[in-house]
Point group: C2
Chain length 144, copies 2
DNA sequence: CCGGTTGTAACCGAAGATGTTACAGCGAGG
DNA sequence: CCTCGCTGTAACATCTTCGGTTACAACCGG
């Protein structure tokens, strides 16, 4: 499995919370979410902790503690999730600075930065158009 | 160093080869390319080896050996480079299979696959619209 | 055959992701 | 105000990947 499943875990958790909320079970513990995602509760706590900092979920302490959505599923976009969990961009520049004596080495970084930035903007626009409610709806339609 | 710089290295190498070719120095050794990218010649050989398998560059052995473009810089798109070096998609699914007893766990993977696939398609379309010649032109215009 | 370069294997260290254990902190409810 | 359950986080163990390095056989033009 290629790296970066954090986006997937976060979206899965939010979709599950949205469904539970709709079923009248609004507060979930990290263990309950972890059971659906099939991972360790600490992974979920770390993930939901990021989402909480972004204001997407709320947490309750004490007896009967747990997590709940901070707003309607329709109002949570994948772009917000993407930013909340600090996803790294799809392309990176050179590991070590290129040779600036070479005309290509000198100009390639700004050129590629602009180029990569444009692609990233397009991706952000697509992510912004999709909400957790959309994902949940699509998820509940069983398909091969 | 954050992530995947392979795309950057490949594009840098091709742009540099395109410029050298235009200057009448069509055949470059891996050491010459490595000097511009500022990395080890083996890294370049591995990278150009991938590009050769995709038919984007040619290699010559024996005395005076080295690499040259297999076609005009205008005819090499970033999508071809992307595919040649086997870039991994920006998002990955779950590390371990989610709980299929849960309606979300059951349906989330196909839903996210479709979603991620759509985003990837958009990205591919953008990459296909940019050639090495475009990158070289942009690179040679020094800009802050 | 020689000399220079490719093609690859083997290996290293750093970094990041995932998972696990352990434990202090918090607060709702008795 | 004490208890209990869950959060929040540190620490740590793997595992994988990546960039880098060394070494060496294969190749071929001259």
């Amino acid at each position: 499995m290629s790296a970066n499943s954090r986006m997937t875990v976060a979206v899965h958790a939010l979709a599950w919370m949205a469904l539970a909320e709709r079923r009248g079970h609004a507060v979930l513990t990290s263990a309950e979410v972890a059971a659906s995602v099939n991972t360790n509760p600490v992974i979920i706590r770390r993930c939901l902790g990021d989402l909480r900092e972004a204001g997407l979920v709320r947490v309750r302490h004490g007896t009967g503690a747990g997590w709940s959505l901070a707003r309607a599923p329709e109002a949570i976009t994948l772009l917000q999730v993407h930013d909340a969990i600090g996803q790294q961009p799809p392309f990176g520049l050179h590991a070590s600075e290129p040779n600036l004596e070479c005309p290509v080495g000198k100009g390639i970084r700004p050129a590629l930065s602009r180029l990569y930035g444009g692609i990233e903007q397009t991706m952000r626009r697509e992510l912004a158009a999709i909400s957790i409610a959309d994902v949940l709806r699509d998820t509940l339609q069983a398909r091969p």
